[in-house]
């Protein structure tokens, strides 16, 4: 009797797991096909960088935008600008302050469709302990099982205290920073 109830509990449990699994695996980021880049300007010189490590938690249903959610987590310590000198500086407290703020996050609040695969995703962007409301323009393109979300978000670096003290001088490093992303997702329903 007892064994049977344990077995049935196990069966129920695994059934629940199996049922939950597709939902979890449904929408996933494909890191190899995704990019989060940024462009800064130093005395007129465009400097490109990117984050090597980031992840997205996506629950996106084109038919149910009200309950759709998108969250992005970026490891600030994975930022690279391709030169040893700058890469050694980025984790320091004047820039990303990685030891204290190892992650930058974006959490969506409302998603609005603009038609033709274009969306305005409003939400909270937190970098270096500063949270700001932003609206991210996102374009979705579907190709087979993969849905690619792309967009550009212009930011003011000083609003997030990126480049403090002597580096706050915008004639040296411009305030404007462009964040460019390309997120390849699997499991998103037809638009």
């Amino acid at each position: 009797m007892q064994i049977a109830s344990v077995l049935s509990a196990l069966a129920l449990g695994s059934a629940a797991l199996l049922a939950a699994q597709p939902a979890l695996a449904q929408q996933k980021l494909v890191p190899a096909q995704s990019e989060v880049q940024f462009t800064a300007r130093q005395m007129g010189v465009p400097l490109e960088g990117h984050f090597k490590k980031f992840d997205a938690q996506v629950h996106f249903d084109p038919a149910k935008l009200a309950t759709s959610k998108i969250a992005l987590t970026v490891d600030t310590g994975s930022a690279t600008m391709g030169s040893r000198e700058t890469d050694a500086e980025l984790p320091k407290s004047t820039w990303f302050n990685v030891p204290q703020f190892p992650q930058a996050t974006f959490q969506s609040s409302t998603i609005k469709t603009l038609g033709a695969g274009k969306f305005d995703v409003a939400g909270k962007l937190s970098i270096k302990g500063v949270a700001r409301d932003v609206v991210v323009p996102v374009t979705l393109v579907q190709n087979g099982a993969t849905t690619t979300a792309t967009g550009v978000l212009p930011l003011k670096r000083l609003a997030f205290k990126i480049g403090e003290n002597e580096w706050a001088d915008t004639s040296m490093v411009a305030d404007d920073v462009q964040v460019k992303f390309k997120l390849a997702l699997t499991g998103v329903g037809k638009l």
Binding site: G44, W167, M172
Partner: protein
């Protein structure tokens, strides 16, 4: 070695033969460089020495706005020097520099004649090699040059940390080679002026004709 007619007549003139022997050489310094050549020579001379000093100083600075500022200025100045050197070379092709005065040349041992020509050729080679290596190094390091912060210049090579590691010492070594040659050049000019007193230096100075 043919002696220019102008020189021969001057050497035979009474004014020349009556002056103290030590000054005959200077009086013989006849043909000067063109004013444009002089201007480019002194301008680039000062610029190269200054930029070499700035380069030495900035390379040891810690990462700071001051360091980035100097690097940008160094690059803009380097590109300007490159452009002016090209202008200088074109000018030199069109306006050949005066030949060494025959008696100066005759007074020089063979090795000095070779050194004279070799040093000038090498200097001109380095006028181009040093800035081009610097430019390539900047490109490889992932810092495109934006001339005066306004005009983006093309990258000479693709960004690559390994290539940057190779180019950095080449830029430095070529700059040190140029600095050494400049020292030899200045020492030789001063030797001709103050020891040989052959007036060679006057060819590069405007004024008294």
């Amino acid at each position: 070695m043919r002696i220019p007619a102008q020189l021969r007549t001057r050497a035979l003139s009474p004014a020349f033969t009556e002056m103290p022997l030590s000054h005959q050489g200077q009086a013989l310094a006849p043909q000067r460089y063109t004013r444009t050549a002089m201007l480019l020579h002194w301008l680039l001379g000062i610029a190269l020495v200054t930029l070499f000093g700035v380069g030495l100083y900035m390379a040891d600075l810690p990462f700071s706005p001051q360091r980035l500022k100097l690097y940008n200025w160094h690059k803009w100045a380097g590109v300007s020097i490159l452009a002016l050197s090209l202008l200088r070379l074109v000018w030199r092709r069109a306006h050949r520099p005066p030949q060494l005065p025959a008696q100066v040349e005759q007074a020089m041992p063979r090795w000095q004649q070779l050194a004279h020509h070799g040093a000038h050729h090498l200097l001109y080679l380095l006028f181009f090699a040093v800035p081009l290596l610097g430019w390539a190094y900047s490109s490889a390091a992932g810092f495109p040059i934006v001339f005066f912060g306004l005009w983006p210049l093309p990258d000479l090579v693709a960004a690559s940390p390994e290539l940057a590691d190779t180019l950095k010492p080449l830029h430095k070594l070529s700059a040190f080679a140029m600095a050494a040659l400049v020292l030899v050049h200045v020492a030789a000019a001063l030797k001709h002026h103050f020891i040989d007193r052959d007036g060679l230096l006057l060819r590069m100075l405007p004024g008294r004709s």
